[in-house]
């Protein structure tokens, strides 16, 4: 087990599918030879086919007996083509050639963008940004006979040793998220490195840095002061993708919990769902229902003018709220009392949790007293209007951002 674990939380309620993260990553890491088709970060529409095609249904991960369940290898056609154009002719030649890609398109990473689903009068979809999950139990690592894949002890980031890799691609077959890519030019497999060179300098990941929706939260999962700790282990509103695959991913998602139907804004997803709840359960497991119940309760509190610390945290206007990057040198000097224990909340201040937020909500409902939640995090900005910069839920949480955040 690593001493620490970097993690990322993405709030799917705020993702607008602009692909800025995708391009930030592309320009930073995957603009070399043989990397044309690779998107270490991609954003795909769900329900949807995904990138590579049908990645979420072809296999990978572990079964209940902890046996690897490798999938077939995705072919290049399943990833989609990185089209080239005759730029020279188009930009400078002017010989009246049509603006056409070099191959007839049959599939691309965003082939079904914004298609989503449809039930009679109700279209629905949401965006799912994806990077390597830097799993606690990486199936890729277990599958590699060369031991070329390793999990860094200092921060839990999973990397491929390019010197040891010989391109056997057992890792790609084993990964349930299909977030490892084969570079035919180098003959080796490559993947998201969680921007470790940036983190080591105290800078946040490129995808998070450029995110215009401010959907990403980054920090150490064992650091009680980090936003990811608060969202994953404190409020428990962020869930991993396909938990039944057994790899324990360290990228978490706040599920889309309240997209309104036309003319029915604010109606609970549990009462009158726009997104099929079954699909969210398919992606995030059965706990997604508890998260939605809790978030809807918090939203109703905010709409009543009460304080919701978790919603304020999710708004995450400022960088210091969304990110807590601990450069190596600081981490090495820090006490290691919580090292290696990611299954339970570390003891001691500054984090104060008085019971599970969801349990408190259920208790309050059963008592019928409507008492507010008792979860409280020191250091989290309160949901004071002065601190609110607005977000995708502002239209329904009761905060009017047009007047400087005054409710």
């Amino acid at each position: 087990m690593p001493e620490h674990q970097y993690a990322m939380v993405m709030d799917l309620n705020k993702c607008i599918g602009c692909q800025t993260c995708t391009i930030a990553c592309k320009k930073q890491w995957t603009d070399g030879d043989g990397m044309d088709y690779m998107y270490w970060n991609n954003v795909e529409t769900h329900p949807g086919i995904g990138y590579p095609r049908s990645w979420h249904s072809i296999g990978g991960g572990f079964d209940k007996q902890r046996n690897l369940q490798p999938s077939p290898l995705p072919a290049k056609e399943d990833y989609g083509e990185a089209f080239e154009y005759d730029y020279g002719q188009r930009l400078y030649g002017g010989r009246k050639k049509p603006v056409m890609p070099h191959k007839t398109p049959t599939y691309t990473p965003n082939w079904d963008e914004d298609v989503g689903g449809w039930d009679t009068t109700n279209p629905y979809y949401f965006y799912l940004p994806r990077i390597c999950n830097h799993c606690t139990h990486p199936a890729c690592l277990e599958a590699c006979p060369r031991k070329a894949i390793y999990k860094r002890t200092e921060d839990g980031i999973v990397l491929i040793d390019q010197e040891r890799c010989r391109g056997y691609r057992y890792c790609i077959k084993a990964c349930p998220y299909k977030k490892i890519y084969f570079n035919e030019v180098t003959g080796k497999s490559e993947k998201c490195i969680f921007c470790y060179p940036r983190l080591e300098k105290g800078q946040v990941n490129a995808c998070a840095q450029q995110c215009v929706g401010r959907i990403r939260f980054v920090g150490l999962l064992d650091d009680p002061d980090s936003p990811v700790y608060k969202l994953v282990k404190g409020y428990k509103v962020a869930l991993g993708l396909f938990p039944e695959k057994g790899t324990v991913p360290n990228v978490y998602y706040v599920p889309p919990f309240n997209p309104p139907k036309q003319g029915r804004a604010g109606t609970s997803i549990l009462e009158d769902s726009r997104l099929p709840l079954d699909y969210l359960v398919y992606l995030f497991g059965p706990k997604v229902k508890d998260v939605i119940v809790f978030l809807e309760y918090e939203l109703s509190r905010a709409q009543r003018g009460e304080k919701s610390e978790v919603l304020q945290l999710l708004i995450g206007r400022d960088d210091h709220v969304r990110y807590k990057i601990v450069p190596d040198v600081m981490r090495e000097a820090a006490p290691q009392e919580n090292a290696g224990d990611f299954g339970a909340a570390p003891a001691g201040p500054p984090l104060e949790i008085k019971g599970s937020p969801i349990a408190s909500y259920i208790d309050s409902m059963s008592n019928g007293n409507g008492s507010p939640l008792t979860a409280s995090f020191e250091g989290t900005d309160s949901c004071a209007p002065s601190a609110c910069g607005g977000c995708s839920i502002a239209s329904t949480c009761g905060i009017n951002t047009s007047n400087g955040g005054e409710a």
Partner: protein, 242 residues
């Protein structure tokens, strides 16, 4: 009586000769045909006529069992393979010829002819799911006769091996190992050889330096069309080169 002795003597000579041949086969000896030094460059060409004068010997191949989850079970197919050996001093040229219906090469990406100077990626990945045909000749680093051969699984700690490796589309490289999962590329160790593809078979020549008498060698063949790579392959037992 004299006639009887004569018949018995002839039978005895024939029997001894037969037993000798059988013994030679039991020891799996491969005779290397002596060749003039001037023929070296010709021998490096896998389809050079010089190889027509050297007797091919069959190599019997086995297939490794499934090693990892998801490996295919043995479909009982085996390539037909032969080996020819030519000796120039202490160097041995070995030509392996084997059947392989599909040509599977390791790509190095594709350049776009129409992209001009403004192209974004000079080389693209074209194939993410294919594997290349390959050949490897394993030779103990300690040349000469062995009372016990090194492990078939990439040698031993006490018996490291040289691996003369060829992969379709990439060419030749030198690897070293001292046991399973210890294979490493050897830097600055060029391997001389040549390849030829005819009909449904490969012929690959590799020059093996320092092969003194009775040095053991063995072979491995990967069929890329069957997704073979790593430990999933066809392999021979040890042969001795004379």
């Amino acid at each position: 009586m004299k006639r009887l002795y004569c018949i018995i003597s002839i039978l005895l000579v024939v029997s001894l000769f037969t037993i000798g041949l059988m013994a030679q086969d039991t020891a799996l000896v491969m005779q290397a045909a002596p060749v003039e030094t001037s023929m070296s460059s010709a021998l490096l060409s896998a389809d050079n006529a010089a190889w027509n004068n050297i007797q091919p010997r069959p190599i019997h191949l086995n297939r490794t069992p499934p090693l990892y989850t998801g490996d295919p079970i043995d479909d009982s197919y085996r390539p037909t393979a032969t080996a020819q050996f030519a000796r120039v001093g202490e160097d041995v040229f070995v030509r392996i010829t084997w059947t392989d219906e599909s040509r599977n090469s390791s790509g190095k990406g594709a350049k776009y002819p129409d992209a001009g100077e403004e192209r974004i990626y000079p080389q693209h990945t074209e194939n993410t799911s294919g594997f290349a045909d390959a050949l490897c000749v394993m030779v103990p680093q300690k040349r000469g006769p062995h009372t016990a051969y090194p492990s078939m699984m990439m040698g031993d700690t006490q018996e490291p091996v040289d691996l003369y490796f060829w992969r379709a589309g990439e060419g030749f490289s030198m690897l070293g190992a001292h046991g399973r999962e210890t294979v490493e590329k050897v830097a600055n160790a060029p391997v001389e050889g040549g390849e030829s593809r005819q009909d449904s078979s490969w012929s690959v020549v590799i020059r093996l330096p320092g092969i003194t008498a009775h040095t053991p060698v063995c072979f491995a063949i990967w069929d890329g069309g069957r997704e073979q790579r790593d430990g999933l392959k066809y392999f021979s037992i040890w042969y001795e080169v004379e």
